[in-house]
Each structure stands twice: as C-alpha cells, then as structure tokens.
Symmetry: C2
Subunit: 224 residues, 2 copies
C-alpha cells in the first residue's frame, strides 16, 4: 500500500504559552472567530500547511492569532484520540512556551480576541484544549523540580525569595524556606551577582541562573 | 477554511523498543519488504488508520511486524520535517518502550525480518530512523539520571552491582561505585529484599524498585 491509499487525517498545531504574572500562572488564549466552537476560548493554533514544518506552523499560527513571535517553543505532546474534533479526524501536535514578561498580544486571523487568563479562572475551552493545557501544566510542575526551566519565567536577576515564590506559584503549594534554599544550592543552577534588591527590610542579594545550566537545558531541547 | 480545504499530510507511527541484553543496549528493528527503502532496516511502524487512535496504531504495527505485544508504550516525539519521506509529506508520531527480557520476535506484514541490534552495531536505517533512535537514546539517558525508569529494563530483583552495570551501559561511561550507591540511596527508589544472589565471592543482597516509585512513574506517563 502507498501513502495515497489511506484516507488521511488532518494535522493541526496548538501552542500553550505560559507566563508568571500578578503572582499567578497565566496562559494565552484566543476567542475563536470561526466554526466549530465559534466564540469559545481556545489555545492558539491551526492547520499545518502541506509544505510547512511543524514548528514553523506553530510559530505562524501564534503570530497570526496573537501577534506573539520570537518565543522559544518546545514540542509537548501529540493528541490524536478519535472524536476530539467535530470536523473529523484531526491530530494535533501541541507545543509549549514559557515566557518571562507578560507579552503584549494582538488578536488577528481566526481569533476575535486574544488575552492572558489566570489558570485558576479559565473559561471552558474548545476541543480538548482543557486537557492539553492540563498536560502542559503537569509537565511544567514535573520539570521544574529537577531542571532549571524556571529561567524562562524569571527576570534576568532575582532574589531567592522571588525565586521561591515562583516555585510556589508553579507547584501550587508553600515551600519551606530552608529546604528550598538547600535544594536550589545543591542543584548548582543559580549563582549570586554583585547587586542587591533594596525594598522593605534589608537589601537582598540578586541571583541569576548560571550560563552553563541554561546552555544545558537549551542543548537538550527536551522540553524546555 | 475547513479541514477539507487543505491538502493533508500522511501520518505514521514508529516504535523504538529498547532492551538490555548481553551487556549492551539493543533495539528491535525490521527489514522492510516494501518500497521505499525495500531491504533496508527500520524501526517498526506504519500508517495510522483513519479510525484508529495513535497508540493503538503503534501497538498494531508492532504486533504485525514483530509479533511483540503487551509492552508499555510512551509517546516520544513527533517528527514532521519536510522531505523526511520520499512518499510525500509524512508526519510520524514516535513511541518508545523499554522492555526487561529479550522478547522473542517474529517478522510479519511488511517486515521481511525482525531482530535485535546492539546500538553500537546499527546498520544504516531507512527514512530518518537513525535520528529517531538517537532521540530515544538521548531521552533515556537523560531520564535515567533522576527517574526510576530503569525498573522497566531490570529483572524484578537485582544486586546493586547489576544495577550499576545497567546504568553504566545506558550512560555509556563507568560510574564511581560509592557515588552511585549514595545517589541511588538518596533517590529512595529501591529497597532491599530478604534474598541474596550467590555467585563468585560472598553473597550479594538483592534489591528491587519500590512499588511507590514505580507507581509514581506510571502515574506520570511522561515517558516512561
């Protein structure tokens, strides 16, 4: 049998973009302007063109629907259950990106609206996008425990308190300060800088992720 | 635009099956009996049927081409570069399985032959299957450092020496005995049994992976 003998599924890409903002994890969603699920919120995404690589398709859809570009995408998982799309057999390759600042967004293309949503206040999503989003969050929580992926969510320099707070937000639970500091030191992924943050109380030293730790994460490209 | 307006890619699944055998990592390959790459070795796999979930397709292809069934599959990565298949645009969802014993295999369907290959002696593979295989091995090496995935490759009970040897084979480098034992203890993933292995020298205690550690890996289902 050749490839042409088989009825073919459609292939889409979907992109989960996560940031830390206002002490919450937030995700970028678009309001659909087309059937099916017209008027429903969804993760940005769309059909892969026949002459387009998967990641290129993910970047194009993200740019068209939200105005966001230049983010570091990693493949997350491919969702291919039967019945996940009312248009027929549609297999979706999902991507994930962690971004530091709350990026400005502009709705376009098939999106009527685009905005950041706190993950605790999500609307019901189109297709199986709630499931895709939950998968992304689970993966993020799992990875952050042993990998310096946090560097993608933090500013360049940060206090240890701010880093602990970020971990607490991502993991959804309070962490013991002494344990957190011991573990982050043992992981050898951050280093002190010569600068201090002055706010209330005494000045707190600023840290940054080590270049070699970041390079290692990037080299692996095994999300993220 | 609807799904029907787009020319559609074909979608395949490919399955990388890895075992530890004769003190080497080995992978199950089939010799293709069809064009393209007829007579070349490849990872087992084939087209996803329109009414078939992705993992079901991976299981079916594996069973048809190699006789292997009842393995624990995890999704690895989706390969969709342009030009990776001479038949046209073909996107492949790759799966991986780690199996403990060297399973018996029987060639069938589109496979003329099926056998285990030591990863140090691989033939040139069809399509981008060398790349898929390298991706699988990199992922395995990365995961084994912080996760008890090794339980899928080991017999139920094993000596610490045998476990260290398995890690050395997978990582491709010798490990310091004292460091290895300290780290495996700290990870809290194995526990001693009441039985001993008697061979040369004094009897060595047998260990097993802890049930809760295995359950945690299984619950995550984030390879493997």
């Amino acid at each position: 049998m050749t490839a042409e003998d088989y009825p073919k599924p459609s292939v889409t890409v979907d992109v989960v973009i996560i940031t830390l903002r206002d002490k919450e994890l937030q995700v970028l969603l678009i309001k659909r302007d087309l059937a099916p699920y017209r008027g429903k919120w969804a993760v940005p995404g769309g059909f892969v063109h026949i002459d387009e690589a998967l990641e290129a398709a993910a970047r194009r859809e993200l740019r068209e629907e939200t105005g966001v570009s230049e983010v570091y995408l990693e493949q997350l998982y491919t969702f291919g259950e039967l019945g996940r799309d009312p248009r027929g057999r549609v297999i979706s390759v999902a991507y994930i990106a962690l971004v530091p600042a709350p990026l400005a967004v502009t709705a376009g293309s098939d999106a009527r609206e685009a905005r950041w949503w706190p993950i605790g206040e999500l609307p019901p999503l189109a297709f199986d996008h709630n499931q895709i989003l939950q998968y992304a969050l689970t993966r993020l929580r799992y990875k952050i425990e042993y990998s310096p992926v946090g560097f993608r969510l933090m500013p360049e320099k940060f206090t240890l308190s701010a880093l602990q707070k970020a971990y607490e937000i991502i993991l959804g639970e309070p962490l013991d300060k002494r344990n957190f500091r011991r573990r982050i030191n043992e992981a050898k992924v951050i280093e002190p800088t010569d600068t201090y943050h002055s706010g209330e109380g005494r000045p707190a030293r600023l840290y940054r992720f080590r270049r070699d730790a970041i390079a290692e994460v990037k080299a692996r490209r095994l999300f993220p």
